[in-house]
């Protein structure tokens, strides 16, 4: 009998009740992948889209050509920022559970992405984050209080109450406004980079999407425009294995790596251990240098795992094994950096615990301050008149009238 075409439905390696199985992930040994020159032709470095750039091995040893030039102080700062991100997430997740904020999304398990990549970029580089890049905001100095106030939609909310929690932005820090619409930021980053090249500046841009979001049109637009104009941009795919309930196979992830998606357009792809801060930093630095010297875009796939639920509205126990994260072969980015620093004598378990406690306190203190600017139910409230601002540069007549209508109604109601 000849084989026949049947609709192929991608299958995750394990469902609830089954043992986790990551045998589908192809891994490389730490230190095994060579680091090409940043001006290597795209066709000669296609292996980077297949192999996995890793620096830290399972014992926390840094190995190979990709070991970045980071001082112990820098590493400590990276560790601190990852820990801070996790503490913030933990607190906000709980505040949502207590009904203090309407919604939240953690980056649990993916902290090295934002911190490692953010550190490798210059302050003048413009970042177009997804909703799971809170680490970028922390790294670039957005205060915890500001972030919390955004989540609280309170009187100090940078979004003036207009967006759901986590939709931060930070203009001074060159962090673009997070969108609720998946992948839309990708062509923005390319356009921004095009403008930088038009102006002859040497700032680059970077953007992030999840594995699932690569199926959106904007992914294609961004890659196409970046390739055609050789825009100085780093396009990152955070492959955390899941997109709400669908695993990365539904975005084609089992057929070929996400890093390979640009090869057909001549865009080099680099697949990197997303839980290895050193590798993440090194690869980003490589791509940034390539872009700055006119080498155009790089597509970076960060292999990681979504340690928590998709969002506070999600319950992953319905669709994946509870213990999947624990079995993830690339581990926990914080533990791995910690282990490395302990190994190299720059850190200890005691210091780690102390730092964690300190960060927890920092976060609690920030929360206290944040709620002093109002919560959803108590304290000062945003002025409802602001609802009508910023739709246009100047508020047009009809919006002024609507504002008056609303105020009259509210006066009447009192």
């Amino acid at each position: 009998m000849t084989p026949k075409s049947r609709l192929h439905i991608p299958q995750p390696s394990a469902r609830p009740g089954q043992p986790p199985d990551f045998s589908y992930l192809s891994l490389s040994e730490a230190g095994s992948v060579a680091r090409p020159d940043t001006d290597a032709p795209a066709r000669e470095i296609e292996n980077l889209a297949q192999e996995l750039v890793r620096v830290l091995d399972d014992d926390g040893e840094a190995k190979g050509e990709w070991v970045p030039d980071l001082t112990p102080a820098q590493l400590l700062e990276a560790l601190r920022l990852m820990m801070l991100t996790r503490q913030l997430d933990d607190r906000m997740q709980r505040m949502q559970r207590q009904g203090k904020i309407s919604f939240y999304m953690q980056s649990l398990g993916e902290e090295a992405v934002s911190i490692g990549q953010g550190m490798a970029l210059d302050a003048g580089d413009m970042l177009f984050p997804s909703y799971r890049n809170q680490g970028l905001f922390i790294l670039r100095g957005t205060s915890l209080v500001d972030m919390m106030c955004q989540c609280l939609s309170n009187t100090r909310d940078m979004c003036k109450g207009r967006q759901m929690p986590i939709m931060y932005h930070n203009k001074e820090a060159n962090l673009f406004s997070v969108s609720g619409n998946l992948a839309t930021q990708y062509p923005h980053a390319v356009g921004w980079a095009m403008a930088s090249a038009i102006k002859g500046e040497d700032h680059i841009s970077a953007s992030w999407v999840g594995d699932g979001s690569t199926a959106e049109a904007d992914f294609h637009y961004a890659l196409t425009f970046a390739a055609v104009y050789q825009a100085p941009v780093i396009l990152n795919v955070v492959n955390n294995q899941w997109a709400i309930s669908t695993f990365q196979g539904f975005a084609g992830g089992l057929r070929r790596s996400f890093a390979a998606r640009g090869l057909g357009l001549g865009i080099p792809g680099v697949r990197v251990d997303g839980n290895d801060l050193l590798a993440v930093y090194a690869v980003t630095q490589w791509a940034a240098q390539r872009a700055r010297q006119g080498g155009g875009p790089t597509l970076v796939e960060l292999v990681t795992y979504r340690g928590g639920a998709h969002s506070t509205s999600d319950d992953p126990s319905r669709y994946r094994p509870k213990d999947e994260w624990a079995a993830f072969p690339l581990g926990d980015p914080i533990e791995r950096l910690k282990q490395h620093m302990v190994n190299t004598g720059h850190w200890s378990d005691e210091q780690h615990t102390a730092l964690n406690d300190e960060l927890k306190k920092t976060v609690i203190a920030a929360w206290k301050e944040a709620i002093s600017f109002g919560t959803m139910s108590e304290g000062p409230r945003l002025d409802v008149r602001e609802m009508f601002d910023d739709v246009y540069a100047e508020t047009p007549q009809h919006l002024k009238q609507q504002r008056e209508q609303l105020l009259a109604l509210k006066r009447g109601a009192q």
């Binding site: 207009r162 609720g180 997109a243």
Partner: protein
């Protein structure tokens, strides 16, 4: 007859149709193994298999585009767009292809796609989980547009939508998935069991597309509305103490002009309410149509109560939402007009 909320009624409609017609298939983000983020497709993949309840890539344009091809090949796809706020990447395929295929091919090709999508605010969804974009669809020729206001209608209309050989965009007001909502967010939520629309037959039944429902009868005023706002209008009428026809449009295209004009000819006064922004909203067409048909009966300007001309803001959800107070104020305006 069972007690169902709107999610269950939609699920039951899908189940009924999949059972009855083996060509019905479902396609959408998270609809399969997981059963949908709002659980509207819960249990269906287990029952009908992975080839009939299909998890899709996150690609609304791809979902609509491939659904068109699936429909052309003799199946009857029901596509879910996770939130109406995310339907826009699919608009080109809807406008340029789905809506025009039959026309442009001289009647030879068509694709009977139904697109289900949750819409509307009131769930703290901010500007990307609260939108009511129905007016972008009601202007299109070749598409039918539906929005039910209760579980009974939801099931009956969804069945008709699926059976229709025309493409249908089926909006589900998510604020009333779990219970009717009268516009007062401070009152405790009530379940659908408190509402007659919560009684839903387990079996097949169809409510024809193109027929409005007169939800309440009165003689001083006609309120024309749909979706969540039906319930808000009912509460507002109580508060305002007027005797009003409340008409639930249900099928936005094709519009049941007759039911509307009969009512307005009777009452001479008309209020139109919807959640979407007012300017260029579906309510504008309702005003225009009624004004054209009933001009000589009108005793006061037709008034629209609708969302403001801004995106749906997270913190000011209840200031944005055209709630009871605003509907009552609208009623008073109309009733006082001389």
């Amino acid at each position: 007859m069972s007690q169902m909320n709107m999610i269950q009624a939609i699920n039951s409609a899908l189940d009924t149709m999949m059972e009855k017609d083996p060509t019905v298939i479902i396609l959408g983000e998270d609809v399969g193994y997981f059963g949908g983020v709002f659980r509207c497709t819960d249990g269906l993949q287990a029952k009908y298999g992975e080839h009939r309840v299909i998890d899709a890539p996150i690609s609304e344009g791809g979902i609509v585009g491939s659904a068109i091809g699936i429909g052309v090949n003799g199946l009857r796809p029901v596509a879910e767009i996770q939130f109406a706020d995310y339907i826009y990447p699919g608009l080109d395929q809807i406008i340029s292809e789905l809506a025009r295929l039959r026309y442009r091919s001289g009647g030879e090709f068509f694709s009977p796609v139904t697109i289900r999508t949750p819409c509307g605010g009131g769930i703290r969804g901010g500007q990307t989980h609260s939108q009511s974009p129905e007016a972008l669809f009601t202007h299109l020729s070749g598409i039918k547009t539906v929005m039910p206001s209760n579980p009974y209608d939801a099931k009956g209309l969804l069945i008709s939508a699926i059976e229709s050989d025309d493409p249908v965009v089926f909006f589900e007001p998510k604020r009333i998935y779990n219970g009717p909502f009268d516009g007062d967010p401070n009152k405790p939520a009530v379940p659908w069991s408190t509402h007659p629309g919560g009684k839903v037959p387990e079996e097949y039944y169809a409510i024809p597309l193109g027929k409005a429902a007169v939800v309440e009868e009165g003689d001083e005023l006609s309120i024309i509305t749909y979706g969540t706002m039906v319930h808000v209008a009912q509460a507002a009428v109580r508060i305002a103490g007027v005797s009003a026809d409340i008409i639930d449009v249900r099928t936005l295209v094709p519009l049941d002009v007759e039911t509307l004009t009969q009512s307005v000819e009777k009452t001479g006064r008309c209020l139109i309410a919807h959640e979407a922004s007012k300017f260029g909203g579906y309510g504008a067409e309702l005003v225009a149509t009624i004004q054209e048909e009933c001009f000589w009966h009108l005793q006061a300007p037709i008034e629209r109560v609708a969302g403001w001309e801004t995106p749906y803001p997270h913190a000011f959800e209840w200031d944005y939402f055209p709630g009871q107070e605003r509907v009552v104020a609208g009623i008073r305006n109309i009733m006082e007009a001389v």
